[in-house]
């Protein structure tokens, strides 16, 4: 007696069942996530997929660019005249400063030479345009339209006309990912403009203001104080505006004061940014005896370089 065949006839055959597929792809995703977060094995794959996505992203910019072009073209004469007038005023207003600038710079160079201070950072920078910001609500990132092909390196600081925006964290061939200073894993070494005290500004994630953490309640900080980069990290040149203190909460029950800051740069609306070149003139890092331990401890602090 022949057994009754239990296989599905070829006509109905649709390959593995959805549950089997889900299990397969689910496990594959978990492996991918693990490999990506723990070991960062997949950066090459990411680069390859990013190249596939690049045309899509370029196409996206087109309607906006076309709109701006047309709007500019039809911009009224009145508007242009107004702008011209205000620009002239500004030029005049800045006259004294610019006239003295050459002399001051020369004097500065001489003094620096005298002190044998090396130039802290190269002044070259690349202007970039924001392509889009990440949809991910857990991080604060945006993408700009130039990448490795324009000489941008991971770790470079990014600024706009008002201050520090963030840091390049990933570089693709034709675009780069910038982590904003408000990202939870981002920290910027700063200096209070008024007092010169150094501290570190920690990002706090989407919808929350960055804070100066671990500051003693007695510290001399006031609402309105401006924070500048201290330049200690070698990522940002010293003296760039970063944020302004908006609130100082001194609670006697807490060990530290809570100092809330507001970024000065237009981190969520600036369209054009400047990627600073890596400071080449930094002195080499001193050898530390407990280097391995320090590296382990500092794992989460200064976003990946």
């Amino acid at each position: 007696m022949r057994p009754i065949p239990v296989d599905t006839p070829a006509f109905f055959n649709r390959g593995p069942s959805p549950l089997a597929r889900l299990a397969f792809f689910g496990i594959l995703s978990i492996v991918l996530m693990f490999a990506d977060t723990r070991y960062r094995y997949l950066e090459n794959v990411r680069q390859a997929v990013a190249i596939v996505l690049y045309p899509v992203q370029r196409v996206l910019k087109m309607p906006g660019e076309a709109y701006v072009f047309v709007a500019d073209y039809f911009g009224s004469k009145r508007e242009l005249a107004d702008e011209n007038a205000s620009l002239k005023q500004e030029l005049v207003a800045r006259g004294p400063a610019t006239q003295g600038y050459a002399r001051v710079q020369e004097e500065n160079a001489r003094l620096k030479a005298l002190l044998d201070v090396r130039a802290q950072y190269a002044t070259t920078a690349t202007a970039v345009q924001v392509l889009y910001s990440s949809r991910d609500p857990f991080t604060q990132k945006l993408f700009v339209d130039k990448g490795a092909s324009a000489g941008i390196l991971a770790g470079a600081g990014v600024i706009d006309e008002n201050g520090v925006v963030g840091q390049v964290t990933r570089v693709f061939p034709y675009m780069a990912e910038v982590t904003l200073i408000t990202d939870r894993d981002q920290a910027v070494p700063v200096q209070i403009e008024r007092t010169g005290a150094r501290s570190v500004l920690f990002g706090n994630g989407t919808g929350r203001s960055p804070e100066l953490r671990f500051t003693a309640p007695s510290a001399d900080l006031r609402t309105g104080d401006r924070l500048l980069t201290s330049g200690l990290d070698g990522t940002y040149p010293p003296g760039l505006a970063v944020a302004q203190i908006t609130d100082v909460v001194r609670d006697a029950g807490q060990m530290f004061a809570r100092i809330v800051c507001k970024p000065l740069a237009g981190i969520d609306h600036s369209e054009f940014l400047l990627v600073l070149s890596q400071s080449a003139a930094l002195p080499p890092r001193p050898e530390e005896p407990g280097d391995a331990e320090a590296a382990k401890k500092g794992g989460r602090g200064k976003a990946r370089r």
């Binding site: 649709r14 959805p18 549950l19 597929r21 889900l22 792809f25 689910g26 594959l28 995703s29 978990i30 492996v31 991918l32 996530m33 490999a35 990506d36 977060t37 997949l42 794959v45 990411r46 997929v49 990013a50 596939v52 996505l53 899509v56 992203q57 196409v59 996206l60 910019k61 906006g64 924001v130 392509l131 889009y132 910001s133 990440s134 949809r135 991910d136 609500p137 857990f138 991080t139 990132k141 993408f143 990933r170 990912e177 939870r184 994630g205 989407t206 919808g207 969520d268 609306h269």
Partner: protein
């Protein structure tokens, strides 16, 4: 119950209307457009409310054309989204794969419902999708997001009637055919 106005041949297909099979190029094109819609640079409130268009399109094809679009396609498309969003590799892939599996489960009955009731069921799937992403991020050490985190899936569900009408239009039989 007619939810959307039936203007000419543009309107929801009735449950017993037999749709023509979708062209593969149309499926690919619509998925591509979904991806594009997800990457459009916006900010502020729009960014907070923007639904995951790609998930919606994917869900539609998983329900309508399960032989072309299934768990595997969803997974690959999710990887693209992961790169576009700079998120952990496999996060969207996992969420979309589960989405496709859910669609496989309820696709036989969902089409019998009017569009607004379909939207409610879609909302459940999309919220599930968001929860998976949330869980993955939790494991990765993220903090609890604002409640607006769940706004995009709900907005997406509201858009479901529109998206499904848009996507089924090319498959409607021609007027000269079996129109009653």
């Amino acid at each position: 119950m007619r939810v959307l106005p039936n203007v000419g041949s543009f309107g929801p297909a009735s449950p017993d209307e037999i749709l023509r099979p979708a062209k593969p190029w149309f499926i690919v094109l619509s998925l591509l457009l979904g991806l594009v819609a997800n990457l459009v640079p916006v900010s502020g409130v729009v960014l907070e409310l923007r639904p995951d268009f790609l998930a919606l399109v994917l869900l539609y094809w998983c329900i309508q054309q399960p032989r072309y679009v299934g768990v595997g396609t969803a997974w690959v498309v999710g990887l693209l989204m992961d790169v576009g969003d700079a998120t952990v590799f496999g996060q969207h892939a996992l969420a979309y794969a589960v989405l496709a599996y859910g669609a496989e489960f309820f696709r036989r009955r969902v089409l019998r419902f009017p569009l607004w009731q379909q939207a409610v069921q879609v909302a459940v799937l999309l919220v599930l999708c968001a929860l998976i992403v949330l869980f993955v991020r939790f494991v990765g050490g993220a903090i609890l997001p604002h409640w607006t985190y769940f706004a995009p899936p709900l907005v997406g569900a509201l858009l479901w009637p529109l998206i499904s009408v848009l996507l089924q239009t090319p498959q409607r039989p021609s007027r000269s055919g079996t129109r009653r």
